[in-house]
Symmetry: C2
Subunit: 86 residues, 2 copies
């Protein structure tokens, strides 16, 4: 078993209006910074012991996806990094 | 000018109790999944036109950091990816 750090990045699906993102976008643009498509989402970070990244992805997709995101309106992406510990 | 996709990942500082993370951790552990240190945070994603990643980091740190996070209790990390568009 190895230890991994996992980041789950949850956003509203593309095409759905994100009012909070729009507010932040307007504030950033008012500072003359050239941004587009600002979206605000949720972040879940954890450490997990597992045999492989593939096993982690399977665990998340089969058992945790609906805990992290509402599949009707949200999408998520997963970043996995192996931790080097003795 | 190039276009970049930026992700700002905001979490409570280490050592600060994250009650929402604790709730999620307990739910995950009840499924016999071996997780630790679950933290719930905020995600801000946007596209930005800039000359370099260094310029983006400077813009964020000088002008946007306090918009994205409360420096007293939160920390953030930044991921920048160059977009390939014609």
């Amino acid at each position: 078993m190895k230890e991994y750090k996992v980041k789950v990045l949850v956003l509203l699906k593309d095409g759905l209006f994100d009012p909070q993102g729009k507010v932040i976008e307007d504030i950033i643009k008012s500072k003359n910074i050239n941004v587009e498509n600002v979206r605000i989402g949720k972040l879940i970070v954890f450490n997990i012991k597992s045999n492989s990244k593939e096993e982690i992805l399977e665990t998340i997709n089969k058992q945790l996806a609906t805990l992290f995101a509402n599949p009707v309106v949200e999408k998520f992406e997963i970043e996995i990094e192996e931790l080097n510990r003795l």
